[in-house]
Each structure stands twice: as structure tokens, then as C-alpha cells.
């Protein structure tokens, strides 16, 4: 990973600026979570150079940004597939098939949790409660799209839809 690739696009910086504006002027660091999300959206994951670039942009120590990037589990510190599917297997979901849904995806994709398919398309993650237990089984695609009631047929459709 060279330094040039770590740089964020003007569009990303513009979006970060919008987040910074939410907080008091002397509290730029408050925007670090959002800035890392924006960076991750742009890079697909968070290489250390990108984390350092975000830290520099917000005037904080790189280690402080790394603490954040490694604490919250939706940041990807390693490359992931084009589609990162996170399945909630926590108890309320499990009671309505969360674990089985995960097993089903594993079999279909031939990978286990924290693995990526050989074609780089899918990464599978085990998730904790997403606050949608009434819709179990639930899955999250690329951190932002929540899929509800994921029974076999819905899973088949989802995977087919991911091109």
C-alpha cells in the first residue's frame, strides 16, 4: 500500500468536513468515527496509511484513530470481499433461525465466518445483536443494508442479487 493510495478523495474530505461541522470547533476528533466510515467506504477497508491520513486530517494521534478503528467491529482492518455479509447469531435471532441462516450461507458460499470466497466476492462475518430481533433472521450487507426474515429463499435471492 503506498501513500498515494492512502489519500482520501476530495469528495471524501468534503463529506468528512460535513461531519466535523456537527461538533464544536475544538472537537474535531468527534468526527473520527464518521471519517473512518467514509474512508472505509472509499477504500473498501482501512489500511493503516488511511487511518493515519484520517488522524492527520482531524489533528489527532494516529494511535488514537487506530484505537477507534479496532474497537468498533464494523471497521475492516483487513480487506473484505465486495459483499460483506454479517449474520446475527445472537440468542433472540438464533431462536428464530439466525444460526441456521448463517450455516446456510456458509454452505452456499463454501466459506466459514471471517473468510472470503476465492473470487473475492463475499466475506462472511458473525454479528452481534443488530437491534432487529423481531425480524430474525437478520443480515447486514456491507454494513449499511439490513435484510430481514432471511429464510432459505430470501438468502438465495440475496446472493443471486449480489453481482
Amino acid at each position: 500500500m503506498d501513500n498515494d493510495n492512502a489519500q482520501l478523495s476530495p469528495e471524501a474530505l468534503r463529506r468528512i468536513d460535513r461531519e466535523v461541522a456537527k461538533y464544536p470547533a475544538d472537537q474535531k476528533q468527534s468526527a473520527v468515527m464518521a471519517a473512518l466510515v467514509i474512508a472505509q467506504d472509499e477504500k473498501g477497508w482501512l489500511p493503516k496509511e488511511t487511518i493515519a491520513a484520517v488522524a492527520e486530517y482531524l489533528g489527532m494521534a494516529p494511535m488514537a484513530a487506530y484505537e477507534v478503528a479496532s474497537f468498533y467491529n464494523m471497521y475492516d482492518l483487513h480487506p473484505v470481499g465486495k459483499y460483506k455479509i454479517t449474520v446475527c447469531t445472537n440468542l433472540p435471532c438464533a431462536l428464530s433461525g439466525g444460526v441456521h441462516a448463517a450455516e446456510y450461507v456458509k454452505t452456499k458460499l463454501g466459506i466459514d465466518f471471517n473468510e472470503t470466497t476465492a473470487d473475492g466476492k463475499f466475506t462472511l462475518k458473525e454479528g452481534e445483536c443488530m437491534g432487529a430481533c423481531g425480524d430474525a433472521p437478520v443480515m447486514l450487507v456491507n454494513n449499511k443494508r439490513m435484510c430481514s426474515f432471511m429464510l432459505p429463499e430470501q438468502i438465495d435471492n440475496l446472493l443471486a442479487e449480489c453481482k
Binding site: 456537527k22 461538533y23 464544536p24 472537537q27 474535531k28 476528533q29 468527534s30 468526527a31 473520527v32 468515527m33 464518521a34 473512518l36 466510515v37 482531524l58 489527532m60 488514537a64 484505537e67 477507534v68 474497537f71 468498533y72 467491529n73 464494523m74 471497521y75 447469531t89 445472537n90 440468542l91 433472540p92 435471532c93 438464533a94 431462536l95 428464530s96 433461525g97 439466525g98 444460526v99 441456521h100 441462516a101 446456510y104 454479528g127 452481534e128 445483536c129 443488530m130 437491534g131 432487529a132 430481533c133 423481531g134 425480524d135 430474525a136 433472521p137 447486514l140 454494513n143 449499511k144 443494508r145 439490513m146 430481514s148 429464510l151 432459505p152 429463499e153
Partner: protein, 443 residues
Amino acid sequence: MALIDTINPLLTTGWTKGDAGWGIKDYEARGGYKQLRRVLESRMTQDDLIAEVKTSVLRGRGGAGFPTGLKWSFMPKAAPLKYVVCNTDEGEPGTFKDRDLMRFDPHAVIEGMIIAGYAVGAKAGYNYIHGEIFEVYQRFEEALDQARAAGYLGNNILGSEFSFDLFAHHGWGAYICGEETGLLESIEGKKGQPRYKPPFPANFGLYGKPTTINNTETFAAIPFILGMGGEAYLNLGKPNNGGTKLFSVSGHVNRPGNFEVPMGTPFSKLLEMAGGMRGGRKLKAVIPGGSSAPVLPADVIMDCTMDYDSIAKAGSMLGSGAVIVMDETVCMVKALERLSYFYYEESCGQCTPCREGSGWLYRVVHRIEHGEGRPEDLDLLNRVTDNMMGKTICALADAAAFPVRSFIKHFKSEFEYHIENKKCLVDPETQRMGSGFFKAGAA
């Protein structure tokens, strides 16, 4: 899915149109922002406003059930800079009410927060939104834009002296940020590691300034309380348990979902509203207040009404109102294993007893579940939980301990069976079919 069923809808009145009714026009048509207008136009005093909330005996909906009016009254009057913060980090397993509140009626939360800001003298607020619900975060940002455009946010709101702005802060996957000081750290751009208290947020909160933090549902209730009056709101529920409450019912019921019912509604009624037990199977156990609340066996919960006091008397907590229903297809060891894994995974890691103890608990339960349990393990688990409880910065260590203790207490023989026979009491195929995954819509 919007609303399944309700008795006496307040917070859920706006949910009927589902995704089509969240906008500001719909909200205003339902009488939204009327209370804010009344407060500002009548120049209601902060004390009167807080008194009204105190009268309603609205207890915090985030889990601890702390009286909201009292909490607001702790805010120092003189401080020049104060904040209100909304806790929409709903991550307590089983809880999914705040997500729906934010989807179907975000303006109620916004109005509640503005009024709270007025009551405690804050000029700005933040709503911390759970990482996994991006669509909700987006919608809330849109709702904020609408409110700003309509003059409900910003300088001199509705021509009054009162200025207040509100922003959304999006989490990114950490249960501990539901703990109020972990949440504040997170807004400050740090790891969500809870702070030692005291000082409490009312004195040292966001950026070190006095801060009031409430749950989403707590804020959403405020306009309704002002609309009907504190007294009337209180009377909807039971003494010391004012108003209605949203319950998120999940697990082995026919119609999982959110239900708004008055405090004190019998559990059996709630179960009935949720369509009864899935496949007509037998109720085995219920966790009545989110995964951190002690589990109650069927016979105990069936005698409870859904309010703070009744559930506490039965030995558990109403918590966030997440009702996790388990039928006879559940292996209690396996259920506990998953919960213990959750606390192990989510411990923030700063306190020794929690960092080390949560992993220890999980590993021992995992061993038992996998047929490697030892007779002395149950005592060991109780001892480890003993050593964790009450010794940490926040309540997560206790939350990790409660399930372990209550599962062992109420289902000891099932654990013993597991240890002795190296397998589940409930046969695997029964467990497999219990989830309903393999034959969709099992009836």
C-alpha cells in the same frame, strides 16, 4: 413490519402508515410539535416542565428505569454550556423498539429532545444511533433537516429566545456504547470505554459539560406526556410505573414485534398479543428485559405483570422491555453459551474482572455445552460471577453475570444433565426444528 398490536397507543400512534408516515407533515398532522410550540409560546418555566415530567413518573426506558424528571433536575442551572444526548444505541439483545420508533416517528424523538433541551438549558444535542441501522440514521438526518427547515431547530426556535440544535452521531458496532458514558466517549471520538462515576454526566458529561442522557423511547414519550398531562400519563400505568411501554417480543412466538401496552399489563396478555407460542409449543423460559436480565422460568413469568416492580419482585428486571421467549425446544446450556459469548465479545476490556471474567465464563459454558463439563463447573461459574459483580466501572460485568447465575439457578438440572451425559437434554433435531428456519412459517 410496523405495529403488530397495541393497547392504548401513544408512542405508536404514528406507526400505522409504516414507512409512509414518518415525515414532518404527517407528524404535524398528528399534533406533532404542538407541545414544543406550547412550551415556548407559554414561556413555561424549566421547573414547571420538569415537575410535569416528575408527576408522570416516566422512568427511563433504556434499562435502569431511573425517574426521568429527577434526572433532569440534577442538571446544574448556572452552567453556560450543557448538552442533551439521546441513546439510540439499542444493542441489548432482544431490544428493537428504538429502531422502529426512529423509523416510524423520528420527529417525536426530535421534539422530545428539544423540549428536554429547553428543560435543562442545553443549546445542543446529539442522538447516538446504533451502527447497524444505517437506514435509520439516514432517515433521522433527513428528519433533522426537515425540523431545521421548519424552524424547530436552530436559533430562536419559533421566534422564542430558545436556540437549540441537534445532530446525529452514528455508532459503528459496539454494544458498550449503549452504556451512557461509553456513549459520550464515543461521541468524543474515542473508544467507547465507560467512565468511572462519579462524576455523573449531569456534572461532567459530553466534552466535560453537564449532560442529560436518555433513551430514545424516554424522549419520544415527552410530547405525549405534555399533551395529556403528567397525571393522566401516570394513571395509564401503575403507581411508580407511569404510562405505556414498548415491549419488543422475540423468540418463539407466532408474531414477534413491538407492542405498546400500559405498564402493569399481564405477561400472558402480552404473549397473547404476540400470537402465542410458536407452533403451540410449551413456554419454557422468558428473559423479560433484554439479555442482561435474569431469565425467569415459565411459571414465574406467567404470574407477572409487565412493569418494573412486578418483574423485580420476581427476581429479574424489566430492563429495556425486550421479552425473549423460549419454548421447550431450547437447550438452556446452548442459550447461555451464546449469551456469554456476547458479553465476552462486547466487554470493552478496561476492567480486570470483566475483561478476564467474561472470557472465563464463556469458556466454561462452552466446555459444558461441548460435553467437556465437570461437576465442579457450576460452582466455579457462580464463584466467577461473584467475583465479577459490583467490581467494575460499568454494569456490563454484572450483565454478563446475571444470565449465568439465573440460568444455573433455574435450570440447574439441565446443566447437570449436560455435564453428566455430555449432551443436551433437548435432542438436537428438536432444537433444530424449533427455530422455524427449515420449514418456513411453521405453525
